[in-house]
């Protein structure tokens, strides 16, 4: 993984010092809270319902075991012993004190981490395919480009006060988009061009929130070397022309929609013609320097173990078999597997992880995955490089930590925002619904029978829980002081991107889990075979059968 040189290190240390000064000026009354707010937000420090919340950047989700140990230390020393993995591959701490935050930033800087631009109207942490570098279907590792974007966007002087926040996601696996690139301000797909040359497909203006849009392709093929100048052109057009009169209409998706993709593209291309082939774009030497950090690890030459994995899936140990089936993905190198560590144990808040679990996982990463792991946008962890031989041993260790739930990609592998239990913007709780769903669907055989289905849940219209792009989406709303939940079906984040549609009237809190349960039961009745995924059945039969099931006993 990327290692800081003295320049990178100096920048994060100077940032921590700068923030210490800003906190001092706030506490001395030299700057007002209104003036301080955007400054703390640019360091990921929010004011939530019960306390401050600090969001720490995990660039493209990649962590070393050393860094994870520091996160455990921070959780224990400055917080209440746990952290929350976010859908943007970051980690959030729910209880820091303002005066401690500069020290937390110092601690982070000591392990090459920071909270820079994890909030505020600026370019946020760049996210990537959680299987980057190890996926079989990947044509090129996107992470060197993510790191180049990280450096280009860090304190970019022109783009620190954009109309609204700005999120970029990158994938190098054209066949299977695990990074939801069509739902970002900019999505980048590494693709092969006409002559076999690699480049980026550039997608702009996707997003969720109160106005969801699937992003539009504005360039089919951008030679890789032009990435930074092209990004600069897009950001420059947005910074000048994005709306600033209404924060609900300030995202780039609204600008792209208002101008039309063709006109937006024209503006970007006109700007780009004036800045391409200037100093902005990365040199071959710099690209090579950054790529060097992501050269494949020292894999042993091992025999192919696909048949062995197949045997494990059906082996005598049912629990292990289910876990290998659901949580182990084929690796591009023979003899290795990609392991998803589910942070979705039944009855636990999705994505919450304790300091003890973090430390234990760090030790396991050292033993089983070359000291590296990934935070996924599904709010799980991934060990990218586990030898097939060692899967069973790793599984036994994870079981002890309550981190071996065999539900990756299944219904209870939910995305869930913090909701009204923590968030100052939320209208309804989401974690209690997730916990109840986890308890209701705790039969792994039943989950496996249902097969691949995604459930995503948000406690308000801002859609941090991506409810529009869940096969099943749940949106919490407030009706005269009571929590209600809208159910939507048919969303998908990937290459077959689609937005879910609301099924009907909202459900009361005590009804929503039952409604999901009836939808699943109806799916099992109407699917053509066990190979037809829920989303495929939904697309074939439409919403009506599910609506009928969901509202069977509903007193609306």
């Amino acid at each position: 993984m990327y290692k800081y040189d003295t320049i990178d290190q100096r920048i994060v240390e100077e940032r921590a010092a700068q923030f210490r000064g800003q906190v001092e000026r706030r506490l001395s009354g030299e700057i007002t809270e209104d003036e301080f707010k955007p400054l703390r937000l640019q360091n990921g420090l929010y004011m939530q319902l019960h306390a401050y919340m600090l969001r720490v950047a995990i660039p493209y989700g990649l962590l070393s075991s050393t860094q994870l140990r520091m996160l455990a230390h921070i959780a224990r020393k400055y917080d209440r012993g746990y952290g929350h993995l976010s859908t943007r591959q970051n980690i959030q701490f729910n209880w820091p004190k303002l005066e401690d935050v500069p020290s937390i930033l110092d601690d982070l800087a000591s392990v090459q981490m920071h909270a820079i631009q994890t909030s505020g109207n600026c370019i946020r942490n760049t996210t990537a395919d959680a299987y980057a570098g190890v996926a079989r279907d990947e044509i090129e590792d996107p992470r060197p480009w993510c790191e180049l974007i990280r450096q280009w966007s860090t304190f970019h002087p022109e783009f620190a006060f954009l109309p609204r926040k700005f999120k970029i996601a990158v994938t190098g696996a054209p066949g299977d988009d695990r990074a939801a690139v069509r739902f970002h301000d900019i999505g980048l797909r590494i693709v092969e061009g006409p002559d076999g040359e690699r480049g980026f497909e550039v997608i702009v203006g996707g997003g969720l929130g109160r106005t969801p849009f699937v992003g539009k392709v504005i360039r089919d093929f951008l030679p890789k070397r032009f990435l930074l100048s092209y990004l600069e052109a897009i950001l420059r057009v947005y910074n000048q022309h994005g709306r600033r009169d209404n924060k609900f209409k300030a995202r780039i998706k609204i600008l792209v929609d208002a101008l039309g993709a063709a006109e937006f593209k024209r503006l970007v291309e006109a700007e780009w013609q004036l800045i391409r082939d200037t100093a902005i774009d990365v040199t071959e030497e710099e690209l090579a320097r950054v790529e060097e950090f992501f050269v494949p690890a020292n894999y042993e030459t091992l025999p192919d173990t696909d048949s062995r994995l197949a045997a494990m899936r059906l082996g005598k140990n049912r629990d292990l078999g289910l876990w290998v089936s659901n949580n182990v993905t084929p690796h591009k190198v023979a003899g290795y597997g990609i392991v998803t560590i589910s942070v979705k144990a039944p009855g636990k808040p999705p994505g919450d992880i304790t300091d003890t679990q973090m430390e234990a996982v760090a030790d396991l990463a050292d033993r089983y995955s070359q000291g590296r792991l990934v935070v996924t946008h599904m709010q799980n962890l991934v060990f990218p490089d586990v030898k097939t031989d060692e899967l069973e041993s790793l599984w036994r260790e994870l079981v002890k930590l309550d981190l071996a739930t065999a539900n990756a990609g299944k219904l209870t592998d939910m995305i869930c925002c913090p909701g009204l239990d923590y968030c100052a913007l939320a209208n309804a709780t989401s974690i209690p619904i997730a916990e109840e769903l986890g308890r209701h669907f705790d039969d792994l055989d039943y989950l496996n029978d249902i097969g691949e289905v995604s459930l995503k849940m948000s406690g308000c219209i801002n859609a941090c829980g991506h409810h529009h792009i869940g096969n099943i989406g749940i949106l919490g709303i407030d009706k005269r002081g009571e929590e209600f939940y809208q159910l939507m079906l048919g969303g998908s984040p990937g290459n077959d991107a689609s937005l879910g549609k609301i099924l009907g009237p909202a459900f009361a809190k005590h009804e929503i889990v039952d409604a999901v349960s009836r939808v699943m039961a109806r799916y099992l009745e109407v699917r053509e075979s066990s190979d037809e995924r829920f989303i495929d059945t939904f697309r074939r039969v439409g919403a009506e059968p599910f609506k009928e099931a969901a509202y069977a006993d509903h007193q609306a």
Partner: protein
């Protein structure tokens, strides 16, 4: 009024005219872009230097044809969260070759000075009540930057061997 110019605290020597006040015969004045368009010949014929004040929605390209007549451009930041002026600064410097004084006015605060300086601003009229001495520290928040901008024309990887 005191301002920061070339990283020193100095008195503002410009007279900033609104659109109604008659133009004095002499002295250095700034006017709105609308007044510059309406009264350009008169303004240029008088003794004294001339500058223009841009609102945040008036972009670099809106003044690119008159830059040779101007000795100062003031760009307004109505709220410090309105970041259009950063692009305006960079384009005036990088694209249109403007070399005279470029001043940030309005809700200008210590924590923006580093970014503004990188985008080509060399003078700063801070928000009322702000401590200018302390604000000077803002230029030194960072000793190194990754990107190319109006101050340092090369990104870090073209400046140093990493």
């Amino acid at each position: 009024m005191q301002i920061i110019r070339h990283r020193e605290i100095v008195a503002d020597t410009w007279l900033h005219l609104d659109d109604e006040t008659p133009v004095p015969d002499a002295g250095d004045v700034t006017v709105s872009l609308e007044r510059l368009r309406a009264e350009g010949e008169v303004l240029l014929a008088r003794r004294g230097a001339l500058g223009v004040r841009l609102r945040s929605d008036q972009l670099a390209h809106d003044v690119s044809d008159v830059l040779q007549d101007l000795d100062i451009i003031c760009v307004e930041f109505p709220k410090f969260t309105d970041g259009r002026g950063y692009t305006t600064g960079r384009l005036l410097r990088d694209r249109y070759g403007y070399t005279k004084e470029l001043r940030a006015v309005g809700h200008v605060l210590q924590d923006q000075l580093f970014y503004m300086a990188r985008c080509g601003y060399d003078s700063f009229a801070l928000a009322p009540g702000k401590n200018l001495e302390r604000a000077l520290d803002g230029f030194a928040d960072f000793s190194v930057s990754y990107q190319a901008a109006a101050d340092v024309r090369q990104p870090i990887f073209r400046r140093v061997s990493r």
